[in-house]
Subunit: 366 residues, 2 copies
């Protein structure tokens, strides 16, 4: 904070509040001073729950938006801050939320605002042992979800029903939640964000399943693509090409590697094969409290309000294989969660990577 010229943080993003204070909930804020004092503002109803979960220097309850703004004023007062710079999360706050957090009845007039996104991103990027353990647990839960989903893949079921199997299995295996589940099939595998639809699977379909379980506040990210029946030669070739690129990229994951080098390792074979226009989004991104977080490759980082990442230190966690290969009229994607080790990669998501052959007989609900 000192280096960034920020005197106090005013956080509202649950992921950041969870990281710094152990509690990240909706409709709340955390004010954090340079010397580590934390004031938490939550709905009045939640005060006892927060007290039970974590320790804070000050907890204030509010009943509505006006109450929240006044409580922000009191927190500034309590911290003795009348001027200087307050850091806000520019990559999270909407215009209306920004208006509330900087309302003239809350923020002292002489306090200026600045973006604090990079401060939190830098802190969160390198994971401690306890965080790695939780991400590992999420990866295991993801494997259970993927197994349930892939085994359910049969003609006649809808994409949403496949998602149901994955999500049910993840909660039973220990997830308290999950980020959005993607299940797409047939021509829908050719789009970048395949949220489940009512499309029914038919023989010959590719099915793309992308899961993001949350265990004790931490996530994993895994994608597999499978075929119902025998894949065509073109589908198999595209899958093999993509998997080779992904595995070559994973092989380079170790302390000191740059995001640009990883991005190029993933992209180069796809572009060489003429697929430069058939990929989308960062091929590699960070994984942690959020399933998609810093580090991002520099180009993406800039537009997402993040700083270009340094050579990766050990214990950064990455998802490798996010860009997909959308060759049309279908696509393939394989993605895994990988820890940056000092000597090499540690792959956390180990469900088999195979286009495989799912039985082409009619499915039934269980």
């Amino acid at each position: 904070m000192k280096a960034a010229g920020i005197d106090v943080l005013l956080l509202a993003k649950p992921a950041n509040m969870f990281y710094l204070t152990g509690d990240g909930r909706l409709c709340a804020y955390a004010m954090v001073s340079q010397d580590g004092k934390v004031a938490l503002g939550v709905p009045t109803t939640d005060v006892e729950d927060v007290r039970r979960l974590a320790r804070f220097d000050r907890i204030v309850g509010f009943e509505d938006e006006v109450g929240m703004i006044h409580s922000i004023a009191h927190s500034f007062e309590q911290f003795g801050i009348r001027e200087g710079v307050v850091g806000l999360e520019y990559t999270f706050l909407t215009q209306s939320m920004l208006g509330m957090l900087t309302h003239p009845h809350g923020k002292p007039e002489k306090v200026r605002v600045a973006d604090c996104t990079h401060i939190l991103s830098e802190l969160r990027m390198v994971k401690e042992a306890g965080e790695l353990e939780r991400i590992g647990a999420a990866a295991k839960v993801g494997e259970a979800g993927m197994k349930a989903a892939v085994e359910a893949v049969k003609p006649g079921l809808t994409e949403s029903q496949i998602a149901a199997e994955a999500e049910y299995a993840m909660r039973q295996a220990g997830a308290e939640g999950f980020w959005r589940t993607y299940v797409s099939s047939g021509p829908r595998t050719n789009i970048a964000h395949g949220l489940p639809s009512h499309r029914r699977l038919i023989p010959g379909d590719l099915v793309m399943i992308d899961l993001h379980p949350i265990v004790n506040g931490y996530s994993a990210d895994m994608c597999r693509t499978v075929c119902i029946g025998r894949p065509t030669a073109g589908q198999q070739a595209a899958f093999d090409l993509y998997l080779r690129a992904q595995q070559a990229t994973i092989a380079r994951v170790r302390a000191g590697v740059g995001m640009v080098e990883l991005e190029e390792t993933m992209h180069a074979p796809l572009k060489t094969a003429g697929h430069g226009e058939h990929i989308f989004g960062p091929p590699i991104h960070g994984v942690g409290i959020e399933f998609e977080e810093a580090p991002l490759p520099p180009g993406h980082a800039f537009f997402h309000g993040e700083k270009a990442p340094p050579p990766l230190p050990a214990n950064v966690v990455l998802a490798v294989g996010n860009c997909g290969l959308y060759a049309g009229p279908w696509g393939v994607r394989v993605e895994d969660t990988v820890v940056v080790g000092s000597e090499g990669p540690l792959v956390l998501t180990n469900y088999p990577r195979s286009l495989g052959t799912q039985p082409a007989r009619e499915g039934t609900r269980r």
Copy 2:
């Protein structure tokens, strides 16, 4: 748009894009002119899929953020807009997204920006027949999810396992997705946003279940609270009080009623009973493409960047009973999706409203 002095809309919120164009996806934008021309920008990979789903005057694909900014420049050019006002969604855009949509390589220098939130909210507030049908279908799916969840409530299961049952049943019943599921139990029913945790249910617990299924792009919102075993006299009294307030409010739902009147009808009996500090959030809000949307009561509307709502026309859809009663060390909430009819309310979510008595024997996974 004319009345608001806005020459062109530049939308990025999936719900708004879906409403106006029939397609709302992530990482995309829609530019809409006053005379109804629509240009859509999507990932290059998605162009064919978009073409299949809806008709547009212009579809452009982009491969990354720079491509998106350039495509925005081309769309402004195509629409012949070099000055005037572009409307942006201030209640949706983060600072970083706003930066991309108004990047000097995209937006012409002389084009000014203004908030267009209220334009879309006003359009979306009154539902057409096809929309009511979809919300009704979502309500039925919500009932199936609630039945599965309530029947699963047994000591020994976790909150997350109860959520699993609800979500699985909703997808099987026809949901393509759902907004976040809340399941809280015991002391956790006393918080405003009870995301499922690993807490195991025990005899005597209240369990609060809040579901938000999505069917063909439209949502419903329903909450029930049930007890494991026999509720205490205090729990039953709080539940009865809350249910009476909610039902009295629903009884007043008809064309011409004001949100303030509905809010007061819900709040008054709770406040009279000394629970003024035991409620949180708007007691009533709109339901549609989003499970929480305009109209909001005026106080909340202001801070959420929405306009104060007019007397409600027929065919607005409301969730009634959102504020909860968090009496500590437990809370109760009952919430239903209700259509504003010209003669009175039409309640869409009809799962029984009873604190009930769930069996207090050990549960097992199915």
